[in-house]
């Protein structure tokens, strides 16, 4: 094999692209879990976002419209989950699984006619001046807008969670829903909003796969990215900047193994292809050695106001 074929600059630049879908899904899920709800349907919302974003993008010729539609679709699907777990008090784990299975079916139903089509291309933004910086320019500042949007979402999420009253209320609801209720906060409403945000982010992440990363529609194309996003939230201890770190680390591994495959490394393709999943398992093990610090106190518990 010829490792010389792997260009470290391109590798780092494509790392950001590879990480963006997971980053989007994970930051959304982090907010959902901060509010005390565990939504295991990320994969289902992502794949739905992927197909809706692609279909709308193809039909309108505008990736931007596609992304908006994908966010709306993700949020709409998440509301199904929200109503079930918040109003009908169903088990969150089971309902999340159901959402994933449902989303996979829904997406392949919608996606059938779009198989083999090509996505409308998305212009890259060469940020003036910055993109001309040697080395850093191509790595950081020559991407499509969604890469920057995802970074903005992380920054805003961090700001809202730690610096604003809305964020404090959300954390309070996730930490102890009975106390939040006793103080007069609308637990269900706060959680519903958080779930919708998580769904929209997952939808965006999915659309990024089908509109930018691949870019076409293939059944089941998110291939576990939603589950990896869930793992990254745990890795990040529910902190936004660490979600970013986790997603980029993971993006790096994905890109590296793809590059090794392309370079014809002596390692069998299947071993390379399974490496992201094995790395995720290893990371989860390392995290659990440290203990689950920072998990919201009410995570996964059913809230039922007794009056």
């Amino acid at each position: 094999m010829d490792l010389g074929q792997i260009n470290p600059l391109l590798l780092l630049a494509s790392l950001m692209v590879a990480a963006t879908p997971i980053l989007l899904a994970a930051i959304g899920e982090a907010v959902v879990e901060k509010s005390g709800v565990l939504n295991l349907g990320v994969e289902g919302m992502m794949i739905t976002g992927a197909v809706v974003g692609f279909a709308i993008g193809v039909n309108t010729g505008s990736p931007a419209v596609g992304f908006v539609a994908a966010a709306a679709a993700g949020a709409a699907l998440s509301m199904l989950f929200g109503v079930l777990v918040l109003y009908l008090m169903s088990n969150q784990v089971a309902t999340g699984l159901g959402l994933t299975l449902f989303g996979l079916g829904l997406s392949s139903l919608i996606g059938k006619p779009y198989e083999g089509m090509k996505a409308p291309s998305m212009a890259k933004w060469d940020i003036p001046v910055l993109s001309d910086i040697p080395v850093l320019g191509p790595i950081l500042f020559r991407h499509d807008p969604m890469v920057y949007v995802s970074l903005i979402i992380v920054a805003v999420t961090w700001y809202v969670l730690t610096r604003t009253r809305a964020g404090l209320i959300l954390r309070g609801v996730g930490e102890n829903h009975d106390a939040a209720h006793a103080l007069g906060y609308k637990v269900i409403r706060v959680r519903l909003l958080a779930i919708a945000f998580g769904g929209a982010c997952a939808g965006l992440g999915g659309a990024y796969v089908s509109l930018v990363r691949v870019p076409q529609w293939v059944e089941g194309m998110t291939a576990g990215a939603g589950w990896i996003a869930l793992a990254i939230v745990v890795f990040a201890s529910w902190r936004p900047w660490r979600v970013l770190l986790g997603a980029y680390l993971f993006g790096g591994i994905t890109v590296l193994q793809l590059n090794l495959q392309a370079a014809g490394a002596a390692i069998p393709v299947e071993i390379l292809a399974m490496s992201p999943y094995i790395v995720t398992i290893l990371v989860l093990v390392v995290i659990s050695l440290r203990g689950n610090h920072g998990a919201p106190g009410s995570l996964g518990r059913i809230f039922h106001a007794t009056h």
Binding site: I169, R171, N176, A179, G184, P296
Partner: protein, 509 residues
């Protein structure tokens, strides 16, 4: 003051407040009034309707009927925020702090228009010192002691300049010394014109603090009085509506050492728990050892290390000379050490399982309810029926779930389940917490009877009156350490307070 003048000068009046839940009328035509600057006691047993009533005042529960006025104007808060903006605040007994958030964040969440972070922290420091309840706004609440956590709640209320402060069982988590500090704070507040609605079932406290009392029984106002003019016994009888049964005890000579712990330490398995440190004690046959202490000082952990849910180092716990420190729960049960944890729903009983299944939960070994791994349901049901009959558990039958029982009935079932297995040593945590007076009396009596028949009994409780009543020797837990036990007879409140506050070690050494 006559009723009419009370009414005219009142800060808050309640008229015909009624709230029904399916199958039970929680409040039935409750009327009374609270004067400005008054400490008004709301007295009643568990289930008398105190909580529902204050939740209506605080806007958490909508009344079915009735009318309230605050300073002469109609008052119908739609939610707690509305109540707070009218000057009504509340300190809860449970459930209103966020462990993983800081003191300042917790306080901020309880306010409607909190100032920015820095200003809020400064205010917290200032107000908490002014009222003698110092607090560091940056600390994480989960790491505070129970007393400090209550301060957070009180400061949260005080920062909003309340006209009426509602306090639900505020002293259940405090040492006697901390109670004194609290009462001082409350007196300071009333001097400034704030009224306090004080909910408690601790009669001595009410007698020393309150000027007026409204007594509730089964959702109705049954009496009002000036508690300073009544004896505790009179107040209790107003509350229960019956003459009280005082447990009867025959003193027996304590026998051989049944259980000995020497230098037991255990790290708490929970994030905000208290680790046990160098605990040593001995309890003899026929004796009741009372362990007092403020909640959260290692009570759950002490029970866990004895039940076998937690493991001690080998050689540190001996049951009749046998080392059991490393044994699992059922091995300990087989040898005669039984336990009953504090939390009934989900710990000592599984709420959604039937009473028969709950009888199996701890009874499988000693009652031989399992044969080669297979369950003997018939025999298990008989055991459940026996518990229900012998301990007067009110339920349609053993097929009903544990969760469908009232607190008192379930506790009778849990204690009965252990007592009927004839333990050599029984350890109970908070045996009468949240239990009505008649069930509490029955439970205490059964513990005394058990000791009389030669078992060693350890009662961990936060109810000092209970411990004084039934235990032969007394000790207290403080931050995971145990004071040296002393005979209960002739024990004064001062010493008890010192033991609970951890000051006893110096004096006793």
């Amino acid at each position: 003051m006559t009723g009419d003048t009370r009414h005219q000068n009142a800060l808050l009046t309640l008229e015909g407040m009624t709230k029904a839940y399916p199958g039970v009328v929680a409040n039935d035509q409750v009327s009374f009034s609270i004067l400005p600057g008054e400490v008004h006691a709301l007295l009643g047993e568990n289930g008398a309707g105190k909580s529902t009533l204050v939740k209506m005042i605080y806007g958490l529960v909508k009344p079915d009927a009735g009318h309230m006025t605050l300073r002469g104007e109609s008052f119908a808060p739609v939610n707690p925020a509305a109540a707070r903006s009218s000057g009504v605040t509340m300190v809860f007994q449970h459930f209103s702090l966020f462990n993983a958030l800081s003191v300042a964040e917790n306080i901020s969440l309880g306010m409607d228009n909190p100032p920015d972070r820095r200003a809020l922290s400064a205010r917290i420091r200032e107000v908490s010192h002014a009222y003698g309840l110092p607090l560091d706004p940056g600390r994480i609440v989960g790491e505070l002691s129970a007393g400090e956590r209550q301060r957070v709640e009180i400061i949260r209320c005080l920062l909003q300049d309340p006209k009426l402060l509602i306090m639900d069982e505020p002293t259940s988590v405090l040492t006697p010394q901390e109670v004194d500090i609290l009462f001082e704070t409350l007196r300071k507040l009333t001097a400034e014109g704030t009224a306090i609605l004080y909910i408690s079932h601790k009669l001595e406290e009410i007698r020393s603090l309150c000027e007026h009392a409204t007594v509730l029984r089964l959702g109705k106002v049954v009496d009002t009085c000036d508690p300073r003019e009544k004896s505790a016994r009179q107040l209790a009888e107003m509350m229960v509506g019956d003459t009280l049964h005082v447990p009867f005890r025959e003193s027996a000579e304590p026998g051989a050492v049944a259980l000995a712990m020497s230098d037991v330490s255990m790290t708490s398995p929970t994030e905000f728990g208290t680790s046990l440190r160098n605990i040593s004690l001995e309890v003899r046959k026929g004796e009741v050892l009372g362990i007092g202490g403020v909640a959260g000082n290692g009570q759950d952990e002490l029970l866990a290390v004895l039940s076998g849910e937690g493991r001690a180092q080998s050689g540190t716990i001996k049951l009749a000379d046998e080392d059991i420190g490393m044994m699992h729960p059922n091995a300990r049960r087989a040898r005669g050490l039984l336990t009953a944890p504090e939390e009934r729903l989900g710990h000592s009983a599984a709420p959604d399982m039937s009473l028969t299944e709950n009888a199996l939960l701890t009874g499988s070994v000693r009652e031989k309810l399992v044969k080669r791994g297979f369950l003997r349901w018939g025999k298990t049901e008989q055991f459940a029926r026996k518990i229900i009959k012998d301990f007067d558990v009110r339920t349609p039958g053993p097929d009903n779930t544990a969760g469908s029982l009232s607190g008192g009935n379930l506790q009778k079932f849990v204690i009965g389940r252990e007592v009927l297995q004839r333990p050599d040593v029984l350890v109970v945590n908070q045996p009468t917490w949240g239990v009505d007076a008649s069930a509490a009396a029955a439970i205490r009596q059964s513990l005394l009877d058990l000791a009389h028949h030669g078992a060693a009994v350890i009662v961990i409780s936060q109810d000092l009156d209970e411990l004084m009543e039934i235990s032969d020797r007394f000790t207290a837990l403080n931050e995971g350490r145990l004071a040296d036990p002393v005979p209960t007879q002739g024990l004064d409140v001062e010493t008890i307070g010192l033991m609970m506050g951890g000051g006893e070690r110096e004096t006793a050494a």
